[in-house]
Symmetry: D2
Subunit: 146 residues, 4 copies
């Protein structure tokens, strides 16, 4: 399963090179991840309301072409790794089908303020949509270093 | 009393006009306000630890000249309004003495999640450093609309 | 004329009070303004491509209730002031009809790097949609200090 | 050679988990990189003034412990990779000596709007301070995938 969000680049997201600042992509990925979770019936606000958190512990991004003010971007997200204690998402940022950036995030499960196993019901839901390392990442890539 | 912080404009804070994006000034003012509170013995982290918050309920900014990447800015803050339930700060953003922007913020006092009187000890400390509407703002300006 | 955009609060836009940080509203207003300009046939990217800029020279925001992660917000924009050299927008940020914040921005016209008259064709287009000070701002409010 | 900057976490940089949002670290790394370049006599503003850019093409971050509002962080930067067309920095984010995050960025050299060789004089300066993959990154880590 893969989710897609569409977003429009904001002026504030550009920098003086005239392109979207690289730090903003982490925010785009997050928006895509949130939508993914919502799509599978796990709205993140409700997850947090149970005291369960998935803080980002690893982030990787490769930039292939710049995005610009006003661009309409598509951000695709997939669950690309799942273990009892952590999970991993992979992302693609595209503009009209052209790949602008790709990335991944790794998340630990935390209950309250400590690392913990992913609660049973969440784990079951996530298992159903786990689709393995996507998008042809090579074995050398950290994505598979679980 | 007036506090001053010095900060260096970050690349990420610029936009494609080649200047600091206007939204970033709100962050600069906040950094100046935090330093002001620390200077008078009220570190905001400790204020919040008591369940006391001063959320921004009004913000005004006037931009006179742009700031650019690498500029070293001075941000001056003064407590310019104080009542039992709210307070107001006034700010100047300068570069080598030249005024780039000025602004104000108004804050309600909140204890837990509701509006409340400013706790006695905080109020006393704030009273000591309250210096009235500073920087020559004219009476028409919202700063004085308390 | 009034334009409306709908946006979903991003996690990154929250702060440790658990609400949208006040600086982010300037970004929301900007997104609404960009959409307004696009709706009247003046995509801002094309305006800039002609070397015409409308930098923000004044910003005012009043916060009435907090927005939270995941909230779907509506941001309404209107052209509330227009002169040969500057213009002014007024905004409302709402959630399901409830007013969360209102604000305004004032912009100078700049051609290349200097203040200038708004080019004829742009001025004509803007005149058509100028709708006066909206949303019942009181005369004391800076909006009317033109 | 290694440069170090000291910065204080801003309130706006926190999110509703009560910690610094992960996207902000990219901004911290950038501030450290800018300081590194300045320390070796290559102020980035002057580099850009010549039409030379080093856009980020890869970014990797590992988060070990959260940073919080008011924390004073040290961000260390080293030039960890250098070829005629790209370069790589490695970073550590620390608080009182404890490692909070580590990361790297890879940059292409661009002259005007196209990829290009790093200009001779810049390359010479960079060579002098190139110190190889630092901080004990293991061979499997992308840092060494040059």
């Amino acid at each position: 399963m893969e989710s897609v969000i569409r977003l429009k680049v904001r002026y504030a997201e550009t920098d003086q090179m005239g392109v979207v600042h690289h730090s903003v992509y982490a925010v785009y990925l997050e928006a895509a991840r949130v939508e993914f979770l919502e799509a599978i019936g796990l709205p993140y606000a409700q997850v947090e309301a149970r005291g369960v958190y998935f803080p980002v512990v690893e982030l990787g991004l490769t930039f292939r072409a710049p995005a610009r003010f006003g661009d309409v971007l598509e951000v695709r997200a997939r669950l690309s790794g799942l273990s009892p204690r952590d999970l991993r998402f992979a992302y693609r940022v595209e503009r009209e089908g052209a790949l602008l950036a790709e990335g991944f995030t790794r998340h630990l499960c935390q209950v309250g303020s400590r690392a913990a196993r992913i609660p049973e019901d969440l784990y079951r839901l996530l298992s159903k949509v786990y689709s393995g390392p996507p998008f042809g990442y090579s074995p050398a890539y950290p994505l598979t270093r679980q």
